[in-house]
C-alpha cells in the first residue's frame, strides 16, 4: 500500500492504494473522474522528492504527493 496525498486546491483526503509502480498508480487514479483534470497538470513527488520516471517502482509505505500548478508570493 502507498499513501497518496492531494496537495493545495485539489481538496481530497489522503488515500491508501495498492500500486507497484507509478504507472500502475496513474491508471488507478485516472479512474476517478474528478482527478483527471488535476493529473493533467500536476507534478508527482515520491517521499517528498519530485520525480519524472513513470516506471519508478513503489514500495509499501511510500508517500506519493500530487502537486498542482503553483503560485507563491
Amino acid at each position: 500500500m502507498v499513501k497518496v496525498e492531494f496537495l493545495g486546491p485539489i481538496g481530497l483526503e489522503d488515500i491508501q492504494i495498492e500500486a507497484a509502480t507509478l504507472a500502475e498508480l496513474g491508471v488507478k487514479l485516472q479512474e476517478k473522474e474528478e482527478l483527471k483534470p488535476w493529473l493533467a497538470n500536476s507534478a508527482i513527488a515520491v517521499n517528498d522528492t519530485l520525480v519524472n520516471d513513470k516506471n519508478m517502482t513503489l514500495k509499501d509505505g511510500d508517500k506519493v504527493s500530487i502537486l498542482p500548478p503553483v503560485c507563491g508570493g
Binding site: L7, L25, L39, S42, A43, S65, P69, C71, G73
Partner: protein, 147 residues
C-alpha cells in the same frame, strides 16, 4: 532567525527587514537586496490565501542556499501561510553578498524560480471564500506524469 521562515497570516515587513539587517550588517556583505511582495487591490479581491507544502519547499530552498554559498552569498526568505489582507506582505526574499553583481543576479533568479517552482498554492479571497488562482499558477516541471 532562520533563513527560511513561514508565518501564519501577513508578514511584519519592518520587523523582518530590521531583524535581517541587525543579524547581517556586520558580516562584511557589501550588498543586501530585499524583495517585498505586497498584496494588490485588484479584481475585487479581499486578500490572498496560501497553502504551502513544507517538505518540498525546504528542499527547494536548501538547494538554492547551497548554490548561493558557492558564490559566498546568503539567501533569506519569509512567506505567509493562510490569509493575507490587501496591502499587506505575503513574501519577502533577500540576498546578501560581498559583490553587487552577484546579489543583483541572484535576487532575480531566485525570485523567478520561486514563482515557477516553490510548492505554494495561491487563492483569491472573494466574498469570504478561497478561489484557487489557477490562471496565475504555473505547472511544475514534469507535470502530467500520471496524465
Amino acid at each position: 532567525m532562520k533563513e527560511l521562515s513561514l508565518f501564519e497570516g501577513p508578514l511584519d515587513v519592518e520587523a523582518i527587514f530590521n531583524g535581517w539587517h541587525e543579524e547581517y550588517k556586520n558580516k562584511n556583505m557589501g550588498a543586501f537586496i530585499t524583495f517585498v511582495g505586497i498584496v494588490r487591490d485588484e479584481d475585487g479581491i479581499e486578500g490572498l490565501s496560501f497553502d504551502i507544502y513544507e517538505p518540498i519547499l525546504n528542499s527547494w530552498f536548501d538547494a538554492w542556499q547551497a548554490k548561493a554559498k558557492t558564490q559566498n552569498a546568503t539567501i533569506l526568505m519569509a512567506h505567509s501561510k493562510g490569509d493575507v489582507p490587501l496591502h499587506k506582505s505575503s513574501y519577502i526574499a533577500a540576498v546578501l553578498s560581498p559583490k553587487r553583481k552577484v546579489a543583483l543576479a541572484l535576487i532575480n533568479d531566485f525570485v523567478e524560480d520561486f514563482k515557477a517552482k516553490a510548492p505554494i498554492w495561491k487563492y483569491d479571497i472573494k466574498g469570504g471564500k478561497r478561489i484557487y488562482a489557477d490562471d496565475r499558477s504555473t505547472a511544475l516541471p514534469a507535470a502530467g506524469l500520471l496524465a
